[in-house]
Symmetry: C2
Subunit: 320 residues, 2 copies
């Protein structure tokens, strides 16, 4: 587990247990591409979604076994990553070859499908029927959001509202669900559970906005993905939207030819950086984070609240 | 609904109701590609899986509302078709443009994912938790089987056993599940339920073998798919396996260059036809059908049994 969790007591160990549960899931049946998927689990990032799920559970009266559910939520995330890589024809993910590159697009589509089914099955077996439904609804929501996003590619709309709606469906929903599932399973009282869901949603929004900022900011080493990737894929994210609003005349003509390896990409990235749009985007992220932090104070006092507060603040400042 | 069902009392109407339920499912939410998926539902084939599910339910004590569950099983089938078309880069399906061709591979992957989630959700909401788990296990099984099949492409193994295992996972399981789900939901007594599952399995095996025969036999008009498609995709199905066993020396060298539009495809198809392998394959299908028919006689007498017997016999003789 990454150093990220070192100051949240016990979390590193708990997430290792979730990873073990994910690996066990892959091994229970003769799943042909287990190795490739396992490599992706090992190289996995911070495991924020299962972490939020477990932390929400800590507010419950019942010490529920949340490992399987946390594993299901993270498998769902891994499944969407695998399908994303097929769709984007990505060769690497977190510095390792994608399933798609290592085997074939066909196998990657099927591996993702298999993981979806595994995730639903884990949820159906290890949690309440309500959580199984929740998870199914969620996958549907994410897919709809992704399709909407795809249909709007290369449109370069300047609507912030539209952008926020898209990332709500794509990311914030999954965070909110993870939190809701953990809370429900651990019988967290209704009021606290609703507060936790709102926190999950706001954190998800802030998380995605920061991700979109980092796409214009980071050097390839830190993020392990190239700068301007969203741009090349035709995604109009918040930094670009804000830059277009102040300096559209200069930027718009360049967007026509934004394709990987084109000089225009570099120019647009520079324009966005110079326009002050990154700072402005950060202030959007900060607003969501601040709202989440206010909600945190409404939760019952104790170590669970302290840990959650620490995590929420920390996410705003991430640089990778 | 197709003429296929005209001699099974009431089935045409019931399957229309299932289709309506599928369409309603697509419309309940703002699903962006609903039109494209709906076209696929309208052009849908015989809807055998939901039909078997409903017919199994007819043996139950309880008149259960099986429409949603039947719709879920068929949506699952449609989802796998959409992903198959992405994978095979197929331009048409049942004479209409595929989702993949009409939109993009990305949208087709996501549309399939969305349908999976919809199917799990329908199952989780409209049926028992056991059936939701059953469905999840099934999707996993099908994906595993498809991946195994893909990894063995262009290997041209002569193992009948291996072939039968593959089609069991790919097709027979889905038939058995459909039947099992219907039986469970309608509280069919255990013994009859087990018999029905075996019938579903055997019918699924026969169905796939006949499908594989038709790939060597049919003209493009009847099947609406080109002859020799499996061959071009590197699939070693029963007719080819049996032909290889009797005339491998002549056929094997040709397989090296079996690619679409290659003369070798036509030659191999002819060799398979001339080898008698199609008749021999039909006798395999007949054995499964006969076993299913024997099982049918163990079910309680009545119109439900008569209808099932009629359907099982009929499927053996299909030519499209």
């Amino acid at each position: 587990m990454s150093d990220f969790w070192s100051d949240i007591p016990g979390m590193s160990q708990r997430l290792s247990d979730v990873q073990r549960c994910m690996r066990d899931t892959l091994r229970t049946e003769r799943f042909p591409l287990a190795d490739a998927v396992e490599a992706l689990i090992d190289a996995n990032g911070k495991m924020l979604r299962p972490a939020f799920l477990l932390m929400a559970g800590d507010f419950g009266k019942k010490k529920a076994a949340l490992l399987e559910l946390a594993a299901a939520v993270e498998l769902l995330h891994v499944a969407t990553l695998i399908h994303d890589d097929v769709i984007d024809e990505a060769a690497t993910r977190r510095g390792r070859p994608t399933v798609h590159a290592r085997y074939s697009a066909k196998d990657a589509v099927l591996a993702g499908d298999w993981l979806f089914s595994r995730c639903f099955r884990l949820a159906a077996e290890a949690s309440s029927p309500e959580n199984a439904k929740l998870l199914a609804r969620l996958v549907g929501g994410i897919c709809s959001a992704e399709i909407h996003q795809d249909l709007e590619k290369f449109v370069w709309s300047e609507s912030v509202r539209n952008y926020l709606r898209k990332i709500a469906g794509k990311t914030a929903l999954l965070f909110a669900l993870a939190v809701q599932a953990g809370a429900r399973e651990s019988k967290v009282p209704l009021r606290a559970s609703a507060t936790l869901s709102r926190i999950g949603y706001d954190v998800g929004m802030a998380f995605q906005i920061i991700d979109d900022i980092l796409d214009y900011e980071s050097s390839e080493g830190a993020m392990r993905k190239p700068v301007g990737k969203d741009l090349c894929e035709g995604l109009c994210t918040l930094p670009l939207i804000l830059a277009l609003r102040t300096n559209g005349q200069a930027i718009r003509p360049l967007l026509v030819s934004c394709r990987p390896d084109d000089d225009a990409v570099e120019t647009v990235v520079k324009q966005v950086r110079d326009s002050g749009a990154l700072d402005e985007s950060r202030s959007y992220a900060r607003r969501y984070t601040e709202r989440a932090l206010r909600e945190v104070e409404r939760l019952p006092k104790g170590p669970a609240r302290d840990a959650l507060r620490k995590l929420v603040s920390k996410l705003l400042d991430r640089r990778y």
